[in-house]
Structures are given as C-alpha cells and as structure tokens.
C-alpha cells in the first residue's frame, strides 16, 4: 500500500480519468441507447432494421476489437481519424455501451403486460395518459436494475482504455507495479478498492431494487 500513498497524486489522476471517461461516455451512451431503443420500437421499418443491425453487430464485437478498429482500420477505411486517448475511449465506449442500454430499455418496455395497456385504454385514458401513467412507470421500474448492471459493466469496461493511451486506474496500477515490485499486491488491492468504491454501491442498490420491483404482468 505504501507505494500507493507515495504516489497519491498519480492514483487520484487515474481515478479522475476512469471517472471522467465513464461519465462522459455513459451519458452519451444513454442518449444514443435511448435513440436506438426508440428506433427499434418505431413504426418506421428502415429505422428498425438499422437499429437492430447496429445492436447485433456491435454487441457481439469485443470492445477491444472496437478500439483496434478505431486505431488501425478506421483511418484507412473511412478517413476517420479519432485522436488516441480520451476522445477515442469515449467514442468506443459510447458506441459499445449504447447497445446494452438499448436492449435494457427495450426488454423493460416488453416486460409490461399487454393487459396493463388494455386496461388503461378501456377505462378511457388517452394514448399519452396510457404511456405516461401506466406503461412507462412500470417499464422504468423493471429497467432500473438491469440498467445499473449495464453501467457497472460500463465502468469496468472503461479499463480497456488503459491499453489505448489513457492513464486510468488500471494503467496507474500497471505503471506503479513495475516501479515497486515489492508492493505489487498492495497496489492492485488499492486500485481494486478504487473501482469497488464506485461499483459496489451500485450493485447493492441494483439488488435491493430487484427485490422491490414487482411489476404487474
């Protein structure tokens, strides 16, 4: 642990980088993911096709491959030169996590029983009322735990950026452990702890919510 405390500024910088990459790409992935989910349930055929094609391709591609593609293939293929480091990490994580956000939202909407909407319509609620008063509140509750899990994975996935020129927590662990071979276990434990500070509250919350979410089906 000593090496970590001696290099507290470096660790803090890595923590900041992990947090910043996760947050920036997390917000963007949410926006893009919601858009994709809207495409997937929209009445417009081409949008549905586009969104399901995109989701199936990107979700089945390893994140590391996405990075390698942006580094090595995109410039020659599309003339797309994304600066290495933060911008590339944010772009890759956004493209990747959005597919999981999309699927979480879509399965949430699907989990609300048709009977709920039918009941709402039959007591005379309008389309807007049905959606905002009956369907979406229930969808939201059943989406929340899977969504939190998506974001836990997202935060951990941000560590792939360490291999592509972002000095995040994993990169810091790596660098420090080469300089302090005697203290390796402490360094890794400390860095692991930094991740846990972010992820454990989330996963405990998800578990709590899961047991409280009882959607009428």
């Amino acid at each position: 642990m000593g090496a970590l405390i001696d290099n507290a500024d470096l660790v803090l910088q890595g923590f900041g980088a992990t947090l910043w990459v996760s947050l920036a790409s997390g917000v963007l992935a949410f926006v893009w993911g919601v858009t994709l989910a809207a495409f997937r349930v929209s009445p417009v055929g081409p949008l549905r096709t586009f969104a399901s094609g995109y989701v199936n391709v990107v979700r089945n591609t390893p994140l590391t491959l996405l990075f390698v593609f942006l580094v090595a293939a995109a410039p020659s293929l599309l003339g797309l030169k994304v600066p290495l480091g933060m911008p590339m990490a944010i772009l890759a994580l956004t493209l990747y996590t959005a597919t999981f956000v999309c699927e979480a939202i879509r399965s949430g909407i699907n989990s609300v029983g048709v009977g709920q909407a039918e009941a709402a319509r039959s007591v005379g609620l309008t389309f807007i009322q049905t959606l905002t008063q009956v369907v979406l509140p229930q969808a939201f509750r059943s989406v929340l735990p899977p969504m939190i899990n998506v974001y836990i994975a997202h935060i951990k996935n941000s560590s792939v950026a360490a291999a592509f020129a972002v000095t995040d927590l994993v990169a810091v662990a790596n660098r420090l452990s080469y300089g302090n071979p005697a203290d390796v276990v402490g360094i890794f434990a400390g860095v692991g702890l930094c991740y846990l500070v972010i992820t454990v509250p989330l996963s405990v919350t998800a578990e709590r919510l899961e047991s409280r979410v009882a959607v009428a089906r």
């Binding site: 391709v57 491959l65 994975a153 996935n157 994993v170 790596n174 390796v184 692991g192 972010i198 454990v200």
Partner: protein, 306 residues
C-alpha cells in the same frame, strides 16, 4: 411490443397510413444514403481495390488459405476458444459452490460468499489479468483464465441465485418435508430447476466470456485479435482494414451462433415440464429480466466485457 403498440394507438386511419408510408420512404433513403456515403468514403481511399486479395489469394508467398488457417485455427481455436473451454468448467464448479455457500446456514460462510460476489463483480477483468501476470507471476494463459473465472463465477452465482428465487416456495418446502437435508434440497430440487430456467442467461454469459478473452490481447496472450495484428503487421498497412473486418466477422458469427442457441433453448424451456410453475399458472417471471441483466453486465469489454 407490437401487441402493446396496437393497444396504445388507435388503428391507423388513411392519413396515418399515408404518413407512415412517407416516413418509410424517407428513412429508407436516409439509410441508403448513409451506406452510399460509407462506400464512397472507402472508395475514394482506394480501399475497394485489390487489397482484399489478402483474404482470398494471400500475399508474400502465403495463400489465402494460410491466412484463414492462422485466423481460425491459431487465433480462434488455439487462442480464444482454448481459454473459453478451460474457463467454463472451472466457472461452473466455482459458481455452484458459491451459490450453495450463499444459502448456507452459517452466517460467516453466507457473508463471505455475499462479499465475494459483490467484490468480484465490481473489479475489471483486465485488472485481474494484470494481477495474474504481474503479482502472481503466472504465464499468460493462466492469467487470462484467472481473470475470466473470478469475474464470471460471481456473475453466474448471481444468475443461479435469481433462478432459485424465481422458483415457487413450495419446492423447497416439499424437499424439506420429505426428509431431505437443506443441502440435499438445494442440490437435488432447487438447483437443477434453477439451472434449467436460467439456461438462456447462462449461455448468454458464455458470449460475454468469449468476448472477454480479447482482453488477453492487452496483456499479450495470443488469441484471435493478436493473430490479426501479427498478420497485418506482416502483410503491411494496406491489409489492415480487411484483416480487422475479417476477425470482427469471425467474432460476430461465433457470438451470434451462441446467442441463437440461447434463443432456441429459451423456446424449448417454455414448453418444458421439468420446472415447477407458480400455483396461479403464470410463467416463472424472473428469468427474462435476470437474463437481460446478466447479459448487460457481461457486456464488458466483453465483460470488461471487452
């Protein structure tokens, strides 16, 4: 969802039908335009020229067959799938133990298992792999397997726990009342059913694990991605894009195949009579949400989901 939509909207009248048709045409054009732009961007950089030959006829004394053999055999089978095949059985055993431990009567055992699950779900797989290489001084394959096993054990145990929770309470009570010990009830009554209803989620987790092997690339383990990189370094920069797209195609087809298997099993499961249903005749409800959640969690880079 299409059902829900039918309920949410009134049946479209002539105006709405016209509007939908217009939108369809407009967005078809937009999507086609996007594709045309991509092709044009690639064309103008000379990407559609003979560089694709590397995948067909090969280059520098290597045939196309050699290139594909490297990708599929050396990369996919001897790298990626080898790690998967070693990791999956270990994960299965460890997850089983962890699941039983989480229901144990001793509080200490229960809490340790609870702690393990939450801690190792929250630590990046890449960090665990680096830990294996740097701190434990393992060679590359064991480090990759270590990272995969520790993380996926925690996740699979969670999936099984959700499966057990989804069973009707009477199953456990019936087991205990015919004189089985709590452990035997767990192993012979609850777990087999939990595994059955969670099978789709468990298979989806294999996709996650498979994608996570690509994190091994970062620590230097030779799998599909590393073979791809070696190949394009050897054949020169023109071959980069074709080779990367080829390996992406391999990953995507393998993963889709596994995912298709999960969907197929899900359909069979629905009709299976080996799982107790709740008394009201409803479906066992939790699996779908839990399955999605698990797949999402795996998302990591695979999991780092990488």
């Amino acid at each position: 969802m299409s059902d829900t939509q039918q309920v949410l909207y009134d049946v479209p009248g002539p105006k709405a039908i016209r509007r939908d048709k217009t939108l369809n045409v407009v967005f078809t054009l937009v999507v086609l335009g996007l594709i045309a732009w991509l092709v044009q961007a690639a064309w103008s950089r000379g990407v559609l020229d003979d560089r694709w030959q590397v995948l067909l006829a090969g280059d520098k004394g290597f045939s196309g067959w050699d290139v594909w053999r490297r990708l599929l055999w050396d990369g996919l089978v001897l790298g990626t799938l080898k790690a998967v095949v070693i990791a999956v059985p270990i994960v299965a055993v460890c997850a089983l133990v962890l699941t039983v431990a989480r229901q144990a009567p001793m509080r200490l055992v229960r809490w340790t298992a609870y702690g393990f699950t939450h801690v190792f779900r929250g630590i990046p797989v890449l960090l665990l792999m680096y830990f294996g290489v740097i701190a434990l001084d393992l060679s590359l394959l064991p480090s990759v397997v270590l990272g995969l096993v520790v993380y996926n054990t925690a996740v699979v145990a969670e999936i099984l726990r959700a499966g057990i929770a989804a069973l009707p309470k009477g199953q456990k009570e019936a087991g205990l009342s015919i004189g089985l010990s709590p452990l035997a009830t767990m192993l012979r009554i609850q777990l087999p059913q939990a595994v059955r209803i969670m099978l789709p989620a468990l298979i989806s987790q294999i996709v996650v694990l498979l994608k996570d092997t690509s994190l091994g690339f970062i620590i230097g383990y030779v799998e599909l991605l590393a073979v791809t990189k070696n190949l394009y370094n050897f054949f020169g920069s023109a071959s980069t894009a074709p080779l990367i797209l080829a390996s992406a195609a391999i990953y995507i087809s393998v993963n889709m195949l596994v995912a298709r298997l999960a969907t197929w099993l899900e359909g069979r499961m629905r009709r299976s009579s080996h799982v107790a249903r709740p008394a009201d005749g409803g479906d066992v409800a939790a699996p779908e949400t839990a399955a999605r959640a698990a797949y999402g969690a795996g998302g990591g880079a695979g999991a780092a989901g990488a």
